[in-house]
């Protein structure tokens, strides 16, 4: 019986999410190199193997080390390389096929000088998100890096890696698709421009919204979605998934009710859900509340929204009718806004049949 805040993982939904994404590239020239930062779990990682996945993406060297220890031999760290970790990068590159990402001459020069083992290198390419990378249309800057990269012995240039994170600001599937198409055009144009000097350039593209609303990845050598393994309420609102595809929920005990202000207090705060939020019609929410039935949640039985979070407290706003269905001592389910961060604060899962699943911490 659940008695305290617990991150539930519905394995069936999770397997269905993996299968759906794996099927999208089946028989095509594009491979699925899923991002494992969402689940950060060797066990969940293993579930991907049955769907033909043997190359993965991670977001830190530490995560690469963890998955390498757990049998993964082809890993891309999709984060601008941290040159302070050159020695550990070098060590890991001796054991597995390791790819890193660069976006500056300083990093390229430093790593080429210090590494003694071969690593694959992508140039981080910005197709409009504006977070990291070289602008995909800034051919001069690209060539500047490539001029040095092509002289390197230990850094082997593979191609361009982009993450169109601006799909998360989209307001419809059409808008997500338009960002996807624009990113694709930019990357293909860049590849064409460089085709004489670099005939083998690969294009690596990621983000769950794009990869969820599209099925045709022709032109990309690989896709790197991550969040789709669990999805979450944000992805549901973006149109990436149905509410029933969300494969994780926080089960939280109800500790108090304040009917006079339409509020319910749960043991479920920032340390359980993370403080990632979503603003819908001027209301900021930290989770969508649904009814529980034993160890399973009922995604379509809404009981309100989490509207305030302290360290351990969550405040649910609900209608009088919803509140009448909630008692002190009940567990309610919270569909997280951002499952990656919820998993990260919880550092472990419980499947709906009670099995514990550990993470890298």
């Amino acid at each position: 019986m659940l008695t305290q805040p617990t991150l539930l993982l519905d394995k069936d939904k999770c397997l269905a999410n993996i299968e759906r994404m794996a099927n999208k590239v089946k028989g095509s020239n594009t491979i699925l190199r899923p991002h494992f930062k969402t689940h950060q779990s060797a066990e969940v990682g293993n579930w991907f193997r049955d769907f033909g996945v043997d190359c993965i993406t991670v977001s830190s060297l530490k995560m690469a080390q963890y998955f390498a220890t757990n049998g993964w031999t082809d890993i891309t760290i999709a984060f601008p390389a941290n040159i302070l970790e050159w020695s550990a990068i070098n060590e890991l590159a001796a054991k597995i096929n390791l790819n890193i990402v660069v976006e500056s001459l300083e990093s390229i020069t430093f790593l080429e000088k210090n590494l003694s083992n071969v690593v694959g290198v992508y140039i981080k390419t910005d197709t409009g998100y504006g977070r990291t990378g070289i602008n995909a249309e800034d051919y001069e800057a690209m060539q500047h890096l490539l001029n040095t990269l092509k002289t390197c012995q230990n850094l082997i240039f593979i191609g361009f890696l982009a993450h169109a994170g601006h799909t998360y600001q989209a307001s419809s599937a059409e808008e997500i698709n338009s960002i996807f198409q624009s990113s694709k055009q930019q990357l293909l144009a860049l590849k064409t421009f460089l085709a004489n000097d670099f005939p083998l350039i690969q294009l690596s593209y990621g983000d769950t919204p794009s990869c969820s609303v599209n099925s045709d990845f022709d032109g990309f050598d690989e896709i790197r979605p991550g969040n789709f393994v669990f999805y979450d309420y944000m992805q549901y609102k973006l149109g990436s998934c149905s509410i029933n595809d969300i494969a994780v929920a926080m089960a939280c005990p109800v500790v108090a009710k304040h009917e006079d202000r339409n509020e319910v207090v749960i043991h479920g705060g920032a340390v359980h859900l993370s403080k990632d939020a979503l603003t819908i019609d001027d209301t900021t929410i930290y989770g969508h509340v649904v009814a529980m039935d034993g160890n399973k949640w009922q995604a379509d039985q809404s009981l309100g929204e989490v509207v305030k979070l302290s360290q351990e407290h969550g405040i649910i706003k609900a209608t009088a009718n919803q509140i009448s269905k909630i008692n002190i001592g009940d567990m309610v389910g919270i569909l997280p806004i951002h499952s990656c961060l919820t998993a990260n604060v919880m550092k472990g899962y419980t499947t709906c049949d009670g099995q514990s699943i550990s993470m890298m911490y």
Copy 2:
């Protein structure tokens, strides 16, 4: 040498923070029952013993169990009791002096029926924050609970416990003080009103801003500040501390620079800092960036603000002059907005002289 995101703890600053708060109640009738949810560490907890602290506050049963295992024998769980955990509450109450908090007849009735060991009970009292508790001026609701509480055998009524969390919305030390005075008046009036029936009522009051800007706690039996052990950038901006009192900082590697948009990219994201934010003059920030000198940070050497966070990326906005002082491969220090949540995501500390300090996870 620091090579990856590391939560640094300056032990000297931390000890000075503990000493300053302990000195405020020294020789008075008020005791310091510090909230340990901020550090969640047995080792940091032990530092309090030298300053005469032997009673503590926690925010969950799990945290109470952890500190009880580490030698603490007088613990208040300052969170509306989760009745689903009655069995573990009962077990812990057999071993230590355990106090819990209630705010409903349902919880009182359920716990009295199920517990077989004695626990101290506070009624959670709302002095204006509006998160949990019974309104301090709603004497009818208070008496309703007290009528049942006084018949209980295992729940021993101690008094009223309040947390004036609305001090965090204050814009000056004067405003914090005015909330403190108003809370105090409400609690003293309530105590006076009930003095005939309950002559031994105790008043427990907490929140770091109130306890930092005040020194006179006459009328309160105990104070329960927590965050003061580390403080953070939010407390500094509230006026609770000086910037040099902040005892923790995230050291983060610089991985990229984008001078054209005055940005620097660090390995330091939501999984390192948490997503708690502060809005100053319409700009939302996730941390205040300062220079590092070896394993120490220089609190007065500003290098900008963290203005965007992804899972692992942090984006610093800085002036051209500040950016000119930052190189790829440097470490920068980030004073966290909310040190409780930063500590919670990091799950451990490194002191400035390189010692690892574990937390309850």
